[in-house]
Symmetry: C2
Subunit: 340 residues, 2 copies
């Protein structure tokens, strides 16, 4: 039985258990990361911790800092540097979320009102800047120019990806390659960097650094593909995100591209009207869901995610077997199988 | 004749000449900074250079990178590192401007439409993030952890200052100390850091680094005070900024605080209605200008700016006389006297 089919038959509770097992392995480190997060949110301006805590405490899984912690452990690292760097990774991620909320004007994130629906567009932009600066302060305190290089470059690529997504938004004419380029930049880049710096702090050879980078990138792509499928296929109560957010924003994701390519002329007209012209009427979301299912677009998106997941898992082969490697493998299952 | 009165009698063309003289001294370096700016704006996503160039080419004086260049020169520095770091400083400033435009919803900056009035709120936030990341990439390429520490801390303080300004906005009850704390953070911090890193690259002793930091901070406060006075006192054609922007936003600046403190009860009601409740009617801006002049609020704001300018100038005393020191002194005159 290969892992892809194993993924398909995993039950939600099995998937949740795998995630918990991975988290438990680095639970003491994560406690310290959480402490550092709260410590570095401190500011003489009370709105900053208030607003940032709103997001950071909102129950995100903190998968990115976990990646840094697990990667460092798998590389045999025994020091303390991975704590501060995992915190920096989470701060960069949170800053991106805050700025992304401004951008998307989406009303919910993880089931809670987004920061900008409570505080307007202004504060989240500035608090994001603050967190971004704090991330760099943490890296400076760590003192590794290599880590600073990896994460400053990652930040630039993420911003480029977000701008590219803006440009290709509402355009059903983009190709799958454009879409993949965007998610590789905006999502996979930080997964990749988070994993890579685990090898850097452990001072492992270039091959291991590259293997972890490749693992993180493939995992990040799988994660985003599943996210895009979930936007059309999960219950709000489970996902903490309204089904159809992307639809309402006119975001062109892989499920749409697949359904568009396979669609009738009437269906293409439907996608153009709803996503390009943003002319959406009652019943349109339901029709979108029906077309996506009938065209197999959601299933294929998740299958592609599973394939990226397998690619990620293979990158782990060069590392010694053990609980950390198992945990990174479990995270692949989690990222892919949460779609089911 | 002391310099303050000299400032008061300087004509606009004399002030412009002083600025030009300072700029000419570092003209070759500024050319390289401009080249680096364009080079590092490059991206595979064309909207990024397009949008950033819109702002960067909009005719800003680039006073912050000039400060780094002049400070390095005054410290006897003969290398090339100040070029990249001056570029990083300008990128941080530009990122702040882009994010500030989102925040203020102001319609004009330097006489041109702001980036967000052309591209919406989305792109400027993300392009700001890109520039901020590029700034850190430039610092990483430079390789000095000390510079990275100074500028990452400065960035955090700037963001804090912007959030603090948001919180105190529309509140005529804030004190002058609150206001000064905000402008020290949001404006003076980058002036300070820009000057300080000039001493750092030149590897000058702590006393000189501190003197340049103090110079930059005092100059930055003077600059912002004058800016706040200009918002009520200059012609749009001269300033490239609509008179009354701050008034329309309900920003509480020193001129307002002074007029409020000295005002009659009717005047205070006027300020509360227009700036706290943002209930503004035709003729209100004219009335605001009349009150500000009658209460001497603009004049006193500029006098305080001149005093900070003098404080900045005195910080230069420990450095050897020469064209770079003269230029930094000229910039004090420019920052203060452009109010007249």
């Amino acid at each position: 039985m290969n892992a892809t089919s194993a993924t398909f038959i995993a039950t939600p509770s099995e998937v949740g258990q795998k995630f918990e097992r991975a988290r438990e392995l680095v639970a003491p480190d994560m406690l310290e990361v959480n402490r550092l997060i709260l410590e570095h949110l401190q500011s003489q301006v009370p709105l900053i911790p208030e607003l940032a805590r709103h997001l950071i405490a909102a129950g995100g899984k903190r998968i990115r800092p976990m990646l840094t912690l697990l990667a460092a452990r798998m590389c045999g690292y025994r020091g303390r540097r991975h704590i501060g760097l995992a915190t920096a990774v989470e701060f960069i991620h949170t800053a991106t979320l805050l700025h992304d909320d401004v951008v998307d004007e989406s009303g919910l994130r993880r089931g809670n009102p987004t920061a900008n629906s409570v505080w307007g567009n202004k504060a989240p932009v500035l608090v994001g800047d603050f967190l971004f600066s704090r991330a760099f302060q943490l890296m400076v305190a760590d003192g590794s120019l290599q880590v600073l290089r990896i994460l400053s470059e990652a930040s630039a690529v993420i911003a480029e990806g977000e701008v590219a997504q803006l440009v290709t938004s509402n355009d059903t004419g983009i190709g799958e390659e454009d879409y993949l380029r965007v998610i590789r930049a905006k999502t996979a880049t930080l997964f990749k960097a988070a994993c890579r710096i685990g090898a850097v702090v452990a001072e492992r050879p270039e091959t291991e650094e590259r293997a972890l980078a490749d693992y993180g990138e493939a995992l990040g792509i799988a994660f985003q593909l599943v996210d895009d499928a979930l936007d059309y296929g999960a219950e709000r109560t489970v996902l903490g995100k309204e089904v159809g957010d992307d639809f309402r924003d006119g975001k062109i994701t892989l499920p749409i591209l697949l359904a568009f390519a396979r669609g009738s002329e009437a269906e293409r007209d439907f996608w153009r009207r709803t996503l390009e012209e943003l002319d959406q009427r009652p019943g349109d979301l339901e029709r979108a869901l029906e077309i996506l299912r009938r065209r197999g677009a959601l299933r294929e998106t998740v299958e592609r995610a599973a394939a990226y997941g397998e690619r990620a898992r293979r990158c782990l082969d060069i590392f010694p077997a053990g609980p950390a490697r198992d945990a990174l493998s479990d995270l692949v299952d989690f990222c892919v199988a949460r779609a089911f």
